[in-house]
Symmetry: C2
Subunit: 238 residues, 2 copies
DNA sequence: CGTACTATTGACGCAGATCAAGTTCCGTGG
DNA sequence: CCACGGAACTTGATCTGCGTCAATAGTACG
């Protein structure tokens, strides 16, 4: 098989055939949900864990007065609520951004497998650590980068993350985020995102049409945003 | 023994005597470093892993033009570079904020122990997940909270984290951060931190003298910052 | 073709940055 | 015990990136 999850895990470690079988079995019970569906409700305890097989989702913090901050974007191959489920701790809300396909996974059972396959547990540790690094780089973005730099940075990040799972190539990928999503992800308003997006286009850094983005100069985007790809823990970190 | 690490881990799971012995053995080789010392240099690969036994440290991202963002504050009982060490991946810089006492740990050996003690590995998974939630809440802070709210929030967070390890009680704790550290942690300038700190004092929310902070009204601080303690995954999440 | 998102554009305001001086606090050495 | 030097903290004046408010225009779908 050649799913996003397989690509992702085997980019980190060389899985044996047996590992692959274990992973496949994990993904056996699939289901779908439409865009906008709540996958994990706010504060839900001991909930289910999933692998996102197709489509995008996001995890967010909602404030009492309506402010919203997206804390993490979930792409195909990413885990949803795995740690919280296993620990029996509450999760933040997670909502489907597009129509999604999910595989429900049994967290306890998965942890059981880890005891048998060091490679598998290493791959998951890698995935977990990478998610954390992504969030820490987001802190750096929101805390210290300008709006222009933040957008440049996130478009590069998404390209590399999607490329890893075979969903981006030749500087082009499908971007289902609205300007409001981008704003909530980057700590901005959608109005400002709109203006800065135009600047990026005018400056010849990106082109967008119909939910598709093209990076016209990764080189310039990297320079602009002081992009250091090491945090993504991919193989050939430029 | 009753170290911060023991308190932290046993707050999550009930460790057996044997687990405690394993943990103790991990902490056998201790060393010290002065305030300002670099514990992990930028981009260092396959480095050492430590447990912070005493003192504070921080992990940060430095930009080419000198901007700095602290991505994580490390308190006694926290792990330093554990995942990165085990995975052989590069780490961000980590610097001692105060004089610190460290125990070098062997990441491979520790992972070995996990295979034998489910409780121990659960405790570490809890710690890891909690660190991630803390960072995600920081994203929410920097992205959507005002400077006033951010400071209120971080003072509550630090209180609860320190209380867990027995280093804060009765709304008072020692706060070795300078205003510049606070600024780099919260995505502000030290000048603005200074002004807002005065507002918090005038409003009767906190009092500070000689590197010690007193929370005069946790109630008000929580209201102001829309503080939801669940993300810290402590036992009695009020 | 209406209803409801989503994107766009302009005018204006403000939280927080920047610039520029001080001042206070300490640790250190004479 | 005091003088010195460098952090750390203050305070004021001014500027600006981004937010807020308001209105319009696409677009998508039922």
């Amino acid at each position: 098989m050649d799913t996003p999850l397989h690509r992702k895990l085997s980019s980190a470690v060389s899985l044996t055939d047996e590992d692959v079988i274990v992973v496949d079995r994990l993904l056996s019970t699939t289901q779908v949900a439409p865009a906008g569906a709540t996958l994990i409700p706010e504060g839900h305890v001991g909930g289910e864990a999933y692998v996102l097989l197709a489509g995008w989702a996001y995890r967010f913090r909602m404030f009492e007065d309506g402010r919203r901050q997206i804390s993490r974007l979930l792409l195909p191959g990413d885990f949803i609520g795995l740690n919280a489920s296993y620990l029996g701790m509450p999760e933040q809300s997670i909502v489907a951004l597009t129509d999604v396909q999910l595989a429900k996974i049994d967290a306890k059972l998965l942890m059981e497998h880890f005891r048998q396959s060091p490679r598998l547990s290493l791959a998951f540790l890698w995935s977990d650590t990478r998610d954390r690094f992504i969030t820490e780089e987001r802190v750096a973005s929101i805390g210290r980068r300008s709006a222009y730099e933040r957008l440049a940075h996130v478009f590069l990040e998404l390209y590399l993350r999607l490329e890893l799972i075979g969903e981006a190539a030749e500087d082009v990928y499908s971007l289902p985020l609205t300007q409001e999503h981008l704003a909530d992800l980057l700590g901005l308003t959608s109005i400002h995102v709109n203006r800065v997006l135009h600047r990026l286009k005018n400056d010849g850094l990106i082109a967008m049409e119909a939910r598709t983005i093209r990076l016209l100069s990764r080189e310039k985007l990297m320079r602009v945003s002081d992009f250091d790809p090491r945090y993504l823990m991919h193989r050939s970190p430029k």
